[in-house]
Every structure is written in structure tokens, then in C-alpha cells.
Symmetry: C2
Subunit: 185 residues, 2 copies
DNA sequence: CGCCAGATGTTGACAACGCCCACATTCCCT
DNA sequence: AGGGAATGTGGGCGTTGTCAACATCTGGCG
């Protein structure tokens, strides 16, 4: 851990507090949901005082935004990896499956990203990362359209909403991943 | 307000605290989101001490659950009203439109109901009301199926997920109601 | 090398919150 | 009329987010 840090444990400066706080917040998020993500607990897990986090995040919300941004990056990477492994014609489906898998495996993170707790207007970096992730989705959708499948305009929105809705239902455990994936065929 | 109350303002007993607390919580929810819903502030708005709410709700979560349950009841009523006004063949679409309208007009309530903040397992009454609302939806879907449109099984789930996804996108202001409704046609 | 500005971390404090306790007041049923 | 149950009050504890003042370290400049 803290591979970039040159300093040890007993030092005054932590060396990589920002990363450590995000990692701690992710752990708290996974184990106890959004409410369990606390600046003071994250600081405790990172081994610093309760006020050290303010040198890296202006507020609790900013920490949550950083975790959400990390989530978008993970989702983006997962989707790209999944798309790279399949026939170009199946890319859109692969994107959808990756989306559903993310919702199932990172329920709390998914909710943080799409649950409306964070207002993108208050967190520019989060907004930018989210835009990037959606941009890739739009690109694949359009590529799919030009490849002759005719998914475009209203149909593209329909596809997005379908996957998004399935992902929410999966995250809420109202259906399971298998049922959701069956809807993509 | 407090139409059922027989007692006035200066009395020791409030007369309808439970309703008042739910109303106050709804107002707080609408104006400041879930985080703004506070037992103490709800008590303040109801004109009682900070501990009175505990005679009606065992915890803050229980108050939130009551507000969510009220949301499900409102949604249920809205959907029924909308369905009653249209040709039976269009009932499913009317349900979908009512769903979208609710998501747009009661964003915060929608998020409380579907955002995963509340675990239905911890709030039996909420679970029951939610089941009732979904039951009506399922009934309409099946009626639609038997009327010859053939929406059944996987297609029914697809329809549900589509509307649910559109509603979330509307609640998150990523699309507007008009775009969403266009997807129902 | 010495030193200082800025970055980073610490200590202490305050108000608000959820929740618990003991106590007060009122309602309703017998 | 009386007494138990329901309801509301007041005080208190521990936790949290945030602010202010102070301490320590780091890197660059003379």
C-alpha cells in the first residue's frame, strides 16, 4: 500500500494521505453504505488526526465525490476491457453486461454514483469523469448505429434507460444479474 | 392543518404529532434532500421538544420509512387515477407516464423510495405498501398481456426496467420528462 | 549552507445530531 | 374517582462536520 510514499509510518507526514483516505472511504462505503463514510473514521483508518483530511478534501461531500469519480473510472475501464474482447458487433451488449456486473458487485458505489446524493454541479471533477464515461457509451452506441443496426436517437435513449433501469433493479436486489442479462438479448 | 386534532396549540398533547412529523419530514425532504430530514428539525417544525418524535418513530430511519411509504401510496393513487381516465388498452402507458411524472415532481421522495437508503427488511410496513404498489403494476402488465399485446415474462421485465431507468434519469435531471415520455410510445 | 514560505498534520473547540434516561402531564378505561 | 398507558419534556452522552490556531516538515532560493 502507499507505493508512492517514500516515508514510513512514524513520520509526521503521511506521504499519500489522499489515496489512503479514498481507499478507506471505499472500504467504509462497501461495508456500511454511504452513511458509514465518515471523515473521522477515514482519518482513523489512515492513522491521522481527525482534521488531516481537510488538507485534501474541503468537505465530506468532496471525499464522496472523489470516491464516486473513482467509481466512474473503474466502470469506464471495465467497460473498455469487456468491449475489447468481443466482436465489434457485440460491443454494445458487452458494455451493458459490464454495467450490470458493476451494479451487482459494487452496489454501494453504484448508488453513490447514481443515487443523487452528489450534485455534479458542486463537484466539477466528478462531472468531468462522469461525462467521459458516458462519452464512451455514446460512442459505442453510435458506432453500433452506423454499423447498420439502426440504434439511434430515441432507440439509443431507450437502450440506455433499459440498461440503467436494470442496473438499478440489480443494485436494489429486486432482480438478479442473470435475469437482467437475459433482457439484453 | 391537523384536522383530526381536537386540541389547540397551547396544549401539552399535540393531537396529531405523527402526521405533523411526516408532513414536516416531507417538506424537509423536498427542500433539502434526505440528509436534511432530521428528527430534531421535524420536532421543531411541529412545535414539540426534540424527544417527542420517539413516541411515534423508534428512529430517524423509521420516520424516513414512513415518508417513503407515503410516497408509495401517492404513486399508487396517481397511477390508478391516470389509468382510470384512459382506454384499457392504454393503461400500461398511463402507468408509465404517471411513474415518470412522479419521478420528476417528487425527485427527493423518489430517491428515498428507490435509492436504497432504506432496507425494506427493516421496515415491514414500507415493504407491504411497496408490494401493493408493485402489485398494481404487475396486474396492469398482465392484463395488458392477456389483452393480446403479448407483454409477458422477459418483455414485462424489460418494460419495467425501461420505465424505471427513465424515471431515474428524469429524477437525476439527465433527461427531461418529454424525452422520457417519447420513449414510451 | 541557512532559512523561509507553503504544504501538511495536530489539538482544541463548537454546534447539531441520534439516541437514552428519568420525570411530568394528560387521556381513557374501569 | 382512580390508576395505568400514552404522550411530551428536560437533561445528558457520544459522534460527527467544520472552523481556528498552532506545529512540523519540505523544497527552493539566497
Amino acid at each position: 500500500m502507499w507505493a508512492l510514499s517514500t516515508s514510513g509510518e512514524g513520520t509526521y507526514h503521511h506521504g499519500n494521505l489522499r489515496r489512503s483516505l479514498i481507499a478507506a472511504a471505499q472500504a467504509l462505503l462497501r461495508s456500511g453504505g454511504i452513511e458509514a463514510v465518515t471523515l473521522r473514521e477515514a482519518a482513523r483508518q489512515a492513522g491521522v488526526s481527525h482534521n488531516a483530511p481537510y488538507r485534501h478534501f474541503p468537505s465530506r461531500e468532496a471525499l464522496l465525490a472523489a470516491v464516486a469519480a473513482e467509481g466512474f473510472r473503474t466502470l469506464h475501464r471495465t467497460q473498455s476491457d469487456a468491449a475489447a474482447e468481443v466482436d465489434p458487433a457485440d460491443r454494445l451488449k458487452a458494455f451493458g453486461r459490464a454495467y450490470l456486473r458493476f451494479a451487482a458487485e459494487e452496489r454501494a458505489t453504484f448508488r453513490l454514483m447514481f443515487g443523487g446524493t452528489l450534485d455534479p454541479a458542486d463537484h466539477p471533477e466528478l462531472a468531468a469523469v462522469a461525462r467521459g464515461t458516458f462519452g464512451a457509451l455514446v460512442a459505442v452506441t453510435q458506432e453500433d448505429a452506423t454499423s447498420g443496426k439502426g440504434i439511434v436517437g430515441r432507440d439509443a435513449l431507450r437502450a440506455w434507460a433499459l440498461v440503467h433501469g436494470l442496473a438499478h433493479l440489480v443494485a436494489d436486489r429486486q432482480i438478479d444479474t442473470a435475469q437482467a442479462e437475459a433482457c439484453l438479448m
